[in-house]
Every structure is written in C-alpha cells, then in structure tokens.
C-alpha cells in the first residue's frame, strides 16, 4: 500500500506541474489546484497515516489507534488557504489575459520590463 500511495502522489505531482506549465491559462489554474490537492494528500498520508479511528476524544479508550489530529488540523487550514490562493491566482490570470488580449502564457512575455 505504501508503494501505491507514494506512486499516486508522485503521479499527481507530475500531472499538476505538467498542467501548470501549459500555455493555456485555464490549464495552469487546473495544474495549481491539482498540485494543492497533491500536497494536501502528501501531508495527510505522511502525517496521519495508520489511524483506524477518527480523532475524537470519545475514541481514546485503551488500545484504540486514532488518526493523528495535528496534520489534519494543519491540512484543514491548508485547504482553505489554497482555495483562497487559487481564487487570487485566477483573478490575476484573468487580468493578465485581459491586459495582453490572450489566454496564451507565452504571449505574456514582457513581465521583465
């Protein structure tokens, strides 16, 4: 299972980065969301793995193996923040494409100046 999980997360990462590198701005945005999901999955699987019960105080009897709540709390925060970030990036992508009259990232080339 570990190997499969690792491979899945790696694949998601690769797809996310590949989409991020597309010229079409919408694809870039999709790539960003996929990356965010991949990172969250990575954090959760490496952080709260092997739990058998959810992290509730009522489950903490003897012999119970509850999932680690700390990574979960952090990921909860990360999910919300990444959504805010996505919305912001989308707004920027929209502005840029409106400014350059194109949805092709390669035509946005004078950021240098």
């Amino acid at each position: 299972m570990e190997l499969l999980t690792a491979l899945t997360i790696g694949t998601l990462f690769a797809i996310g980065v590949f989409q991020l590198l597309r010229r079409n701005v919408i694809r870039s945005a999709i790539g960003l969301v996929i990356l965010a999901n991949a990172v969250n999955l990575f954090l959760l699987t490496t952080g709260a793995y092997l739990g058998e019960d959810p992290a509730y105080a009522t489950y903490t009897g003897v012999g119970q193996r509850i999932a680690d709540p700390l990574p979960q709390a952090l990921i909860l925060t990360a999910i919300v923040i990444s959504m805010g970030g996505t919305a912001f990036v989308l707004a920027m992508l929209y502005i840029i494409s409106a400014r350059y009259q194109t949805a092709n990232m390669d035509e946005v080339d004078n950021l240098k100046n």
Partner: protein, 960 residues
C-alpha cells in the same frame, strides 16, 4: 523625577514634536501660520528635551548611570533599554541643543516654501533616532536607532528630490552607511554572543572576555567597519561630500554635530570593552591618520564652501577616531574637547555658508569676496567660528588643538603622529582662512553677485554656537563644564580623566607645536592659489569616487548579465526552478539507496476492512487527474479536476479524517464554481485559440518534452520522499498525545481536530482567516480597480447593455424547477451552517465548513439567477462588511477572553458561567464566537470572489 521618566521624556517629546510637524502639512494651517513662525513652536520640543537631559548632569558627574529596560522577547532574553551616562549625555545635549538652533534656522532658510514642513518632520525624526542612538541601553536598540538615522538622513539629503544630484548623493550615503550598518549588526551580535548579554552594562564590564575571545578580530573589524562608514572615515568618506546636496540646515546638523559623530560615539563607547589592544590601536590610528590627511588635503582645493566644510569635517572626524585609538587619559581629554569644539564651530560655519548661499545665490569661493560690508553680522559670526576652526587663541578650538597636540606627544607614540597632527592643523587653518578671509574680506570677485544681510532669526542660530566657542573658555570658573567633560571622557576611557579648560598651560611643547602649525598654516594660506592650481593638476586621484563608481558599475554589469539570462517567460522560469529543486534534492540526499525488497509488489497489502475502498479512491484520483490531461475542452478538464478533488475527499474519509474530508468537499465545489466563472469571463475567441494549440502545433513539441521531463522528475522525487516518509516516520507527532489527553478537558470539544483549530492553535486560524479574507479582498481589488485603471475595460463604458449577462450560465433564464430549489437552498444552508457551528465541537464540521456551505448556496444563486438579480435579491450580503465583522469579532473575542483566562484566544464557556439552560452539546463559549467569526470572514471572502468573478465582464465579446 524617576529614571524612567527622565529617559523616556526626551524621546517622547521629540516624537510629539514630529507629530506637530505633521500637523503643519495641512494647507490652511500652513498658510495661516508661515514656516518662519511655526519654528518657534517646533523648537520648543527639542528645547524641552534639552532641559530634561540637562537636569541630571550633577548626578552624572558623580558617575551615576540612568537605566531603563523593558522586556521584548523574554524567551530569547532580549530587552529594549535606555542607558544614560556622561558619555551619552555629552552627545544627547549636543544633539538637542544644536537641534533647537537648526529648527529655528530652517524656518528662515525655507521661508516661503509650502512643503517645508517635510524638512521639519524629517529633522525631528532624525533627532529622535539620533537621541535614541546615543541613549540606547543595548546593542539591539542601538542598531534600530542607528538604521533610523541612516533612513532619516537619506530623506533629509534627498529633500530636494527633483534634483538628480540630491538623489544620487542621498543614495550614496544610504548605500555606504547602510552597508556599514549590516556589518555593524553582525559585529554587535558577535559582541553580545561572546559577552553573553546585549546590555551595555554587561558588555562594558566583560572587556577581558571580549579581548581574549577568538572572535575578537572579526568583531572588531565588523564593528569598526560600521562605525567608519557612518563617521566618514577613509576610504568610506566619499559619501559625505556627496551628501552636501542636502539643504544646508541638514548639513549643518547631520554632517557637523550629530550623525557623523555616531561612529565616534560607538567606538568610544566600546573602548572599555574592545579597546586597549594592539589591533584596536593600529586600526584606529592608521585609519584616523589617513582620514585626517585626506580630508585636510582635499578640503583645500574645494571651490564650494560646503564642500570645504565637508572635507574639514572629515579631517576632524579622523582626528577624533585617532584619539579613540590611544590608550592614555590625555587623548580622551582631547577627544571630548574636540567633539564639543567641533560641534560648536562647524555648525556655525555651515549655517553661515547657508546664509551666504541664501543671500548671494552662490557658494563658489572663487566668485565670493568682500562680503563684510553687506553682511557685517555674518562676518562676525564667521570670524569667531573660523578662529576656532583655525585653532587660534582665545577660542575653544585653540584649546582643542592644544590638547590634541599634547596627546600626540605622549612618549609611547611615534613622532609621526605629532607631525601628521601639526600638518593637518596647518591645513585646517588654511581652510578656515579660505572660508573667512577670502569670502568676507578683500574685494568682490564677481560683480554679478549681490549680497545683503540675512534676517535676524537666521543669524541668531549660528551666532549662539560661535559665541559659545569664545565664552566657554573666557568665562571664569567653568568648573561645572570641565567636571562634565571629565566625566564624559572617563565614561569612554574607562577610568578617571582630568579635564581643565584653562587656555594657557605655560610655555610647553604643545604650544611650540601649535606655533609651528599656525605658521605653516599661514604660509599655506598665503600660497593658496598656486597650491590649489597644483592640486587641480594632480587630478581627482585621491577622491576615491572611482572606487565607489566601480562598485556600482560592477553591480550594474552583473545585473545586465542576469537580465540577459532571463527571457521573461514564466514557463521557462518555472522549469528552471523545478529542475533546480530536483537537482538540489539529489545533490544533498544522494541517489536513493532505498531498497524495494521489503515491499510486496504491487503493494496491495490491505490493512483493515476499508482497504479496497482506499485502493478505489487512489484509482479515482489518479484517473481523473490523467483525464485533465487528455480532455480537450477546458470545461471538461475543470470537471475532471473537480472529480479528482472529490476523490481526494474519499481518501480523507478513509484516513479517517472526517473534518478534513468535509472541508475538502465543500471547498472543491466552490473552487469548481469559481473556475467555471473565470472560464466564462475569458473572451471566447481567446479561450478557443488557447484551447486549440494544446498538443498539435509543431513548434511546441520540444517544449512539450522539456515540460514532461521536468514534471516526471519532480514526480519521482516526491514519490521517493513520500515512500521514505511513509516507511520511516513515527505514528504520532510529539505534541499530539497532549492534544488528545487535554482536548475535552481544556476546550470542551470532543473533536480534537476542531479543538486544535479553534483553541490550541487558534492563532494560526486567526491568521488563516485573515489571509483568506485578504485573498477575497485581493480578487475584488484586482478585478474592480487594477483592471479598470489600466484601461483593460476601455470598452467598459459602452457595456451598458448588461441585461444580456445578468442571467445565469449560457445567458438563458433558468426554469422554475431550478429556481425554486435555489430559493429554498439558501435558508437550508444557513441553518446547516449554524448547526455546524453549534455542534461542531463534538461532531465533524466547523466555521470554515459553515462559511463555505453558505457560500455555495450563494454561488448557486449566481449560477441560477445571474449576477444582477442575485445582487438585487441579497442586499444584506455585503462582502467587505462580513470580512470586517468576522476578523474584528475574532480579535475582540480573543481579547475579551483574556480577561477570564489570561490567554489570548483562550477558552471560556460563557453559557455555563451565566447558567443558561442550553441543549446538550451546545455551548455559548468563546470557541463558538470564534467559529462564528471564522464563518463570517470566510463567507465574506467567498462572496467577494463570486462577486468579482461572477461580474459580467467581457461577455458580449463572444456570441456565446
């Protein structure tokens, strides 16, 4: 008066003065009360500070030290503090005293200028920083104020910011003193590391440890570099002449009496801790001598009056630095007398130079002459101050030179020191002659220069220090003064110093040297014109401006090369960054030596009964992610992306992490809505064009390969890291057992994840909702202002025809079957949200989910009813208000609970406190209020995003 009041009052007074200075920025007030009158009010503030600082002088003379300290970061043992002893007092009194004069003088200098309030504000801010610098009680406070003087002096030098020369001079000064500041910080950190404390009190008493430390040379070099840069020591002196592009009041203040003395202050302050070693002696003596000679030599050839004064200041600073390097009492006596004498005569001369410039329109020595007839009072002032600068009796400057020569004649020292001092003295006398005789006496050299006397208040300011140069030595019984100077010298020297201000000590060696210097100086002055012509022929070899220019040119060249490497395409940058990250991982971690032998291929070792589901969720996630690659239409790709998010949620459920899964589901749907809205906003033609060129176009093939390689590389690295982490990490993090054990007891929440979010790590959550709110506000701002101001909505004016896009997706009116559920869903979502917040403590769900769920219902409205109708029907949904109320509620709630629990954002059950009969599992506690705050902020931010992206923008571009 307590120590605290005594130390804080002057700084607060000056800050108040700054605030009053700001008030005069108001145009009506400025017109009502002209700058010449404002200054009498503003000058009161430094005057009060001066008086307060003067009060404890007799206690200081007895060796008392005033201290004030406040904890800053207790876990690191860091404090901020003030320290006031005689050495600080010497500078503090000069700063505030000259400060009063400068403020008054500047009023006349800027007479009639509307924005002169800026100058006064900068001056008072500078004064505050400078005073804080000399009164700092520890190295950190010192550094903060040190940088404060750099920045405020930058503002002062660049006061005439429309003049490129002023900007260049200001930049040069900031570049050099700021660079010195960084070195100083490093040096001071070494000092406090070795001495084990940041406080002066401890540092000054741990001299032996500092001197024997292995870091001694490093810390001395770093601290000295900072001090040398600030005090214009060779070869960093080049910023000072450039800084002469400052308005003259600023030069008179910063570059004679105060800022350039900061390095002198610091080095002498550290003398008991770092001094008395051969490195200290050689470093300061050699640099001081070089600075003296360089300043005195270059000063003689100046045409500009202020340039001449700047170089003679450099020479004087060199003398002072040299004196700090010596190890005998006599030098420190000469040091304090030199500081006071120089502050008095140089500020007077600068102000006179300003008067000459103001009244004649030029500062060029070769065009001036014979001004005494038109400007008799200025002449008298210049004469007094000039005599003091020349070191002639009966002025204070004479005494300064006498003590200097006496110090250099110390039997332990090489005679070269005395020779250099004599030579410098002679050159300074010649310069004083240039300033006074060639400007005021003789005949006018340029008939086009017309002079008249300055107004009286303008003359008052230079007259006072010039007169003091005479009075200090002439008035009988200056016991208090000499006692004060002796105490100041003793504080810097580390043990007792005797100071007498008697002018004549009989016929002795110093007097003899003095006579030699005066004679030599007179000869140099007599041959000044041929000498200057010879200097000019020798060229600019010794100005070292080329060194500075070389550094700047090298930086420019580097920047040019870097720019060539950047082609401005984001995708290329991204690929470079990714490949760099990958290679860094391999570089530091080495090639993976991980053995796959321990794992059963294909690894379907399902633990627990849900394992098959888990495998299924993996398949869904991977498959839908792959689908985003394969699908041709953007819209479908977005749907696949959303499916992937839902698959992730399933994974979270199986983990099991119900709270996370819940948030993931609602956030995923909201992201979907926002993406689709953006997609609809992009002009159709552009969208299709971008969509078409995805795979097919030939030129992109190599790029495709490049991107694929980069993605696969980073994917492999992440997979390896995940595998390593999964097989080798501990099951629980270190703090988790504490959270599990105390969640119910301390926060009243059975849901430990919820307890961590609203209580244990509530500060994180507070920051998080702030960030999320800012994202919402950012989207709103970008789409409402940034776009419009750049003319992207140029055709926005003719887009009055909005009726088209007021309806939902596709521009078609939704059927009643769709509209009715949409109506019904919003109240349901509200109830759902409220219930989530009420019982989220013991169940999955919290403020985020509540906020996003309500936001989703609103999103449905946008989709079904369209923008205009939704806005009309939901007038209460004011995004910015919701954000403001949410964030404020969170903060206020956090503060109020402090009253009960002593913890910011602690937990308090108000319902239980009052005894309210509430349904089981529901508590009106601070956590509940915090949840509401989170919900409001998230809802507000989501509404902003929907508003901005759902706003009909470019719709009529396409025919949809």
């Amino acid at each position: 008066m307590t120590q605290t009041t005594l130390l804080l009052a002057p700084l607060i007074t000056l800050l108040l003065g700054t605030a009053v200075g700001f008030v005069f920025a108001h145009p009506t007030l400025n017109a009502r009360l002209p700058i010449t009158r404002q200054v009498w009010l503003l000058a009161l503030f430094p005057l009060i500070a001066f008086i307060i600082l003067l009060l404890p002088v007799s206690a200081l003379n007895d060796g008392q030290i005033f201290l004030w300290r406040v904890e800053w970061l207790p876990p690191f043992g860091l404090q901020l503090g003030l320290y006031y002893d005689s050495w600080s007092a010497l500078f503090a009194l000069i700063i505030t005293f000259i400060g009063v004069l400068i403020v008054i003088y500047a009023g006349q200098y800027f007479n009639g200028q509307q924005d002169a309030w800026r100058f006064q504000v900068y001056t008072l801010l500078f004064m505050t920083s400078m005073l804080g610098l000399v009164m700092a009680g520890d190295v950190l406070t010192l550094f903060i104020f040190w940088e404060g003087t750099s920045i405020t002096s930058y503002l002062l030098i660049a006061y005439k910011y429309k003049d490129p020369e002023a900007r260049a001079g200001a930049f040069r000064s900031l570049f050099i003193t700021g660079g010195g500041g960084i070195a100083l910080l490093a040096g001071l950190l070494f000092v406090s590391y070795v001495s084990g404390s940041t406080q002066w009190t401890d540092i000054l008493s741990s001299g032996d440890r500092l001197r024997s430390s292995e870091f001694y040379t490093v810390m001395l070099a770093l601290v000295a570099f900072g001090a040398f840069a600030k005090s214009a020591q060779f070869p960093a002196h080049i910023w000072l002449p450039g800084a002469m592009s400052a308005p003259t009041p600023a030069s008179a203040y910063l570059h004679s009496a105060t800022m350039v003395k900061a390095g002198i202050y610091l080095m002498a302050r550290l003398n008991p801790a770092l001094g008395f070693t051969s490195q200290w002696f050689f470093l300061l003596t050699v640099v001081g001598m070089a600075t003296m000679l360089c300043g005195a030599y270059l000063g003689l050839k100046q045409k500009d009056l202020k340039g001449l004064l700047a170089y003679s200041t450099i020479a004087q600073l060199g003398i002072l630095m040299l004196l700090i390097g010596q190890e005998d009492e006599e030098s420190y006596k000469a040091l304090v007398i030199g500081i006071v004498a120089h502050a008095l005569y140089k500020s007077a001369l600068f102000m006179v130079a300003g008067i000459i410039d103001h009244e004649t329109g030029t500062r060029d020595i070769t065009r001036l002459g014979g001004l005494r007839r038109a400007m008799p009072v200025s002449f008298a002032i210049a004469l007094l101050a000039g005599l003091s600068m020349a070191g002639l009796p009966p002025m204070f400057g004479f005494l300064a030179k006498e003590t200097l020569l006496a110090a250099t004649l110390h039997p332990n020292l090489q005679p070269v020191l005395a020779a250099v001092s004599v030579f410098t003295g002679a050159l300074m006398l010649a310069q004083a002659g240039l300033f006074v005789i060639d400007t005021f006496l003789g005949q006018p050299r340029d008939p086009t220069v017309h002079a008249h006397e300055a107004p009286q208040p303008m003359l008052l300011s230079p007259a006072i220090p010039a007169a003091l140069s005479l009075i200090i030595v002439l008035l009988p019984g200056p016991k208090e003064e000499s006692a004060f100077l002796a105490a100041a010298a003793a504080a810097a020297f580390g043990s007792k110093v005797k100071v007498s201000l008697a002018l004549f000590h009989g016929l002795n060696a110093p007097l003899l040297l003095s006579i030699i210097a005066i004679t030599l100086g007179s000869v140099i002055w007599y041959f000044r014109w041929p000498l200057r012509a010879w200097q000019d022929r020798l060229g600019a070899a010794f100005t070292f401006n080329r060194l500075y220019a070389g550094v700047l040119v090298a930086m420019d060249k580097g920047g040019y090369v870097a720019t060539r490497l950047q082609q401005g395409k984001l995708r290329t940058y991204l690929v470079i960054m990714i490949l760099a990250a990958v290679s860094l991982v391999f570089f530091f971690m080495g090639w993976p030596t991980y053995s796959l032998a321990g794992l059963t291929w294909p690894g379907l070792d399902f633990p627990g009964e849900m394992a098959l589901l888990r495998f299924f969720s993996l398949l869904v996630v991977t498959g839908s992610a792959l689908a985003t690659l394969v699908l041709n239409r953007d819209f479908y790709a977005i749907l696949a992306m959303s499916a992937m998010g839902l698959g992730t949620a399933v994974w979270f459920v199986l983990e099991p992490a119900p709270d996370v899964a819940l948030v993931q589901i609602v956030v995923d749907i909201l992201s979907l809505v926002i993406l689709v809205l953006t997609l609809a906003k992009l002009p159709r033609a552009q969208r299709l064009k971008a969509q078409r060129m995805r795979w097919a176009e030939r030129p992109s093939r190599p790029l495709l390969l490049r991107d694929a390689i980069a993605s696969i590389a980073i994917g492999c690295v992440v997979a390896l890291i995940t595998l390593t982490a999964l097989t080798s990490r501990p099951r629980l993090s270190q703090v988790t057992p504490y959270y599990i054990a105390n969640a119910k007891e301390e926060t009243g929440a059975a849901d430990i994840v919820g307890a961590i979010i609203v209580d244990f790590r509530a500060m994180d959550t507070l920051i998080e909702i702030t960030v999320f709110s800012l994202a919402g506000l950012g989207v709103f701002t970008l789409l409402n202002y940034a776009a419009r101001t750049h003319g992207d909505h140029a055709q926005g004016e003719k887009k009055v025809r909005r009726t088209f896009s007021t309806l939902g997706i596709g521009g078609r009116r939704a059927s009643p079957f769709l509209r009715a559920p949409a109506y019904a869903l919003l109240p349901v979502a509200l109830v759902l949200g409220i219930v989530q917040m009420m019982f989220g403590h013991d169940q999955p769900g919290d403020g985020f989910t509540a906020g996003v769920v309500i936001g989703l219902a609103v999103a449905l409205w946008y989709v079904v009813f369209g923008y205009t109708e939704t806005r009309a029907r939901l007038p209460w949904l004011r995004a910015s208000v919701l954000i403001a109320v949410g964030v404020l509620l969170a903060i206020v709630n956090g503060i109020i609970v402090t009253l009960f629990t002593d913890h910011f954002l602690g937990n308090m059950d108000y319902g239980e406190l009052v005894g309210l009969p509430l349904p089981g599992g529901f508590h009106i506690s601070s956590s509940f209020l915090f949840e509401i705050a989170i919900c409001l902020a998230v809802l507000g931010s989501a509404t902003h995003m929907l508003n901005a992206l759902g706003h009909p923008g470019e719709e009529e571009e396409g025919t949809a």
